[in-house]
């Protein structure tokens, strides 16, 4: 199995990132097609993600991931843990 990093820094759900904040992905608790879809756009442990916007109604939020801007809902991001 791939070695997992034991980090002592606290991880927070990705949806708590505010605009401009950068987080490094540590754990993705999602399953199924969304997990795979996220992996395909490059969201894996170690990926740096920057929150770049919030939709006018508060959800979804936009994130810059490996050069592209992807909008993700809070419900889904809650399961992605990042380290600030």
């Amino acid at each position: 199995m791939l070695p997992s990093n034991t980090i002592s820094c606290p991880t927070v759900p990705m949806c708590t990132l505010k605009i401009g904040e950068v987080g490094t992905v540590r754990k993705i608790a999602l399953t199924g097609s969304l997990r795979r879809r996220l992996q395909d756009i490059g969201v894996i442990p170690g990926t740096k993600i920057r929150c770049v916007g919030i939709s006018p109604l508060g959800d979804p939020k936009a994130y810059r991931i490996r050069g592209a801007v992807i909008a993700l809902r809070g419900d889904d991001c809650r399961e992605i843990l990042v380290e600030r």
Partner: protein
């Protein structure tokens, strides 16, 4: 997406391509949104709808080009991020690669987004070594000062790489040269994605048992065996291979294997891209500023509403003159046509049927439908190409999420404003079948271009006149309010469906907000106008002409002293009155099933007891006629409500059936708006007669 000849002709995952003496078959693949369709169009010269947001091309289109006396067939496969998730597009793409065995796979990439695009490139390279990487949108990259080192990329990947801007003709010529060269090329040393040792060892032990297959195919077969996405019949593989696979699967679940593969692909892309692309995205800052305005908390909705207003106003005003011009043109041809038929020896009743029935309805539909569609859809396409549409989905997603549906429904809804049938086809961009159905079933709650004339006429006659100080802008605003109402109804019905007939959890939602791109305005306009014109004319011929015959027969065939039309109005009158309307109006809606544009002319025909569709000279005339027949503003309200909420037109119904492939859902698509419309009208009628 729209109803283009291509989308109608080729269903999702259709059979093998026409060969017609094609020497080579090329697969065109790539992430969504990389300009793949532009490349396809440029190579084949075919008219195909393109757009700047994920999920545009959903069917497989086929075309060909000639070079040096040879014919190259191209299959434009749906854009996908990967080959191994289970959406329809990915399956179509994967199946094509595996079953049709193209001579070359051209993978189109966005120069501004190479790292992510490489994921698909690497996956494709695992299936077939015959790959040409086409890095597109170099002009956009240049603006952002991104200069990918393509020779380095080619070196690392081991497959030919070419950089182009698909809009430049000379680049397309370079591309055809590169394709011709790549096909002739021998295999060579291509990049192999390396997986964690434990996986690699198992792969080795499996491929060892498959000596008859070429190394490439064996490795791919082994990978698919381990991650569970393969289609190979396990019984066809040697038992030693199966045993190695089973041992592995004892240790690792399919999702763990899937993770291993996915992460290795990402790391591989990372290492390949290192030093190939130097600069970070400089224009990103400018775009983020633009997005702050277009998707900002305060500015997003007002801008969307203003844009909606602008689009409607331009469509309505712009269509006025062409419509009346076409109308006079067709009318002037009526008399000569009549005389010609008589001279040819046609009996009078047949001539009348053909000219006053079929021809008149046909010309009405074309005159009324063609100009607005030829204006609305090109504008819509421009918004797509610029990249604004995903922002609409982004802004509205929360509303749709609350109704347990998908934000992309906002976009299919927008298309429905142009044409409900086009909106229904556009629902293919929604992945989840449940949410796709909801979008399909609710699409006809928003009024299409065909219903605008009626809505505008009602507004002008009974509410805000075009001559009043409020003027045409006021009329457009009133129309916009009606539209907003229909959007609210759509949301409400979607929510209702999610709780009853189409229960389920909301699916996950990833939406890419692509960089804004300058659209190639002229080609977009020309392509869109041509597509629309063909569609309207085809529909007019197929649907309006027969409808015209039927209407004429009903209005002229007599039974027991009055025409069938009059009998029917009498029959429908009680129900009509209950709904705040009358028999004539209701019959007009029913006979307007083939084409919504004919509702007002049929109404006039009924009130005037004419034997044929009658045009109104001016709205004042029409107003006089209507009020003389008992119309009040309440009647107008009910008519507006029913126009918004009644059965979809015949073209839309056929499309719904084709897309859902189910009589059950098609029936619901018919009944849902009808029942709700009837209830709404009865409610309004009831309340108004109570208070007034």
């Amino acid at each position: 997406m729209g109803l283009t000849r291509t989308s109608l002709a080729h269903e999702l995952g259709s059979a093998s391509p026409p060969s017609h003496g094609q020497e080579y078959l090329i697969a065109l693949m790539g992430n969504p949104n990389v300009g793949k369709s532009t490349v396809f169009n440029a190579l084949t010269g075919m008219h195909q709808h393109t757009g700047n947001w994920s999920g545009k091309t959903v069917g497989t289109a086929f075309g060909e080009f000639q070079k040096d006396g040879r014919t190259y067939g191209i299959a434009d496969l749906p854009g996908t991020y990967s080959l191994f998730t289970h959406s329809a597009e990915e399956e179509v793409a994967r199946d094509f690669l595996l079953k049709s065995a193209p001579h070359l796979t051209v993978v189109v990439c966005d120069a501004c987004c190479l790292e992510r695009n490489l994921n698909l490139v690497l996956q494709i390279m695992e299936i077939t070594p015959r790959v040409l990487v086409c890095v597109n949108l170099l002009d956009e990259a240049k603006k952002r000062r991104i200069k990918p080192d393509l020779p380095l990329l080619e070196n690392r990947l081991g497959v030919p790489v070419i950089g182009i801007s698909a809009r430049q003709k000379k680049d397309i010529r370079r591309l055809t040269d590169a394709i011709a060269d790549a096909i002739e090329r021998d295999g060579g040393n291509i990049y192999k994605t390396v997986y964690p040792d434990i996986l690699e060892n198992t792969l080795l032990s499996i491929t060892k048992e498959l000596p008859d297959l070429p190394a490439h195919t064996a490795r791919n077969a082994a990978l698919r065996l381990l991650d569970g996405t393969g289609d190979t019949e396990e019984s066809s593989l040697p038992s030693a291979a199966l045993k190695a696979a089973q041992d592995f699967r004892q240790q690792f679940s399919p999702s763990e294997v899937s993770d291993m593969i996915a992460e290795s692909l990402v790391h591989a892309a990372e290492s390949i891209i290192e030093n190939v692309v130097q600069t970070e995205h400089l224009k990103a800052a400018k775009e983020e500023k633009l997005d702050k305005i277009l998707t900002g908390r305060v500015s997003a909705y007002p801008i969307m509403l203003l844009l909606l207003l602008a689009v409607f106003w331009i469509t309505i005003e712009g269509a006025n003159y062409p419509s009346s011009w076409l109308s006079s043109l067709f009318t002037s041809l009526e008399a000569p046509l009549y005389r010609t038929f008589l001279r040819l020896g046609f009996p009078v009743f047949l001539t009348e049927m053909l000219v006053f029935g079929m021809y008149r309805v046909l010309s009405w539909v074309v005159a009324v439908m063609l100009p607005p569609m030829a204006i609305f859809f090109p504008m819509f396409t421009l918004l797509e190409d610029v990249g604004y549409l995903p922002r609409i989905a982004y802004n509205l997603d929360r509303c749709f999420h609350k109704c347990s549906t998908c934000g992309k429904q906002a976009l299919t809804m927008c298309m429905g404003f142009g044409c409900n049938a086009a909106g229904v086809v556009g629902c293919r961009i929604i992945d989840s079948p449940r949410e796709r159905l909801i979008a399909i079933l609710t699409n006809s709650f928003v009024p299409c271009n065909g219903r605008f004339p009626l809505l505008i006429a009602m507004t002008s006659m009974f509410f805000i006149s075009a001559d009043s100080p409020a003027g045409s802008l006021g009329g457009a605003a009133f129309l916009a309010c009606i539209i907003v109402f229909s959007v609210a109804v759509t949301l409400a019905i979607s929510s209702f469906l999610s709780k009853t007939f189409l229960r389920g959890i909301p699916s996950s939602f990833t939406l890419e907000l692509p960089p804004y791109r300058r659209p190639v305005i002229l080609s977009v306009l020309v392509r869109s106008i041509l597509d629309r014109t063909v569609f309207v004319l085809a529909r007019a011929a197929a649907v309006a002409a027969p409808a015209g015959l039927v209407i004429w027969i009903l209005a002229n065939a007599e039974i027991g002293g009055s025409t069938v039309f009059v009998h029917l109005t009498g029959l429908l009158d009680p129900l009509g009155r209950l709904m705040g309307m009358d028999g004539v109006i209701l019959l007009a809606f029913i006979l307007g099933f083939p084409a919504n544009e004919t509702v007002i002319p049929i109404m006039m025909m009924g009130y005037l007891s004419a034997g044929t569709l009658t045009e109104y000279g001016s709205l004042t005339e029409l107003h006089t006629l209507l009020t003389a027949n008992g119309w009040t503003p309440i009647t107008a309200v009910c008519v507006i409500l029913f126009s918004l909420m009644h059965w979809p037109c015949s073209t839309t119904m056929i499309t719904v059936y084709k897309e859902s492939r189910s009589l059950k859902w098609s029936a619901l698509a018919f009944l849902l708006p009808t029942v709700i419309g009837m209830l709404a009208c009865m409610l309004v009628n009831g309340i108004s007669s109570f208070f007034l």
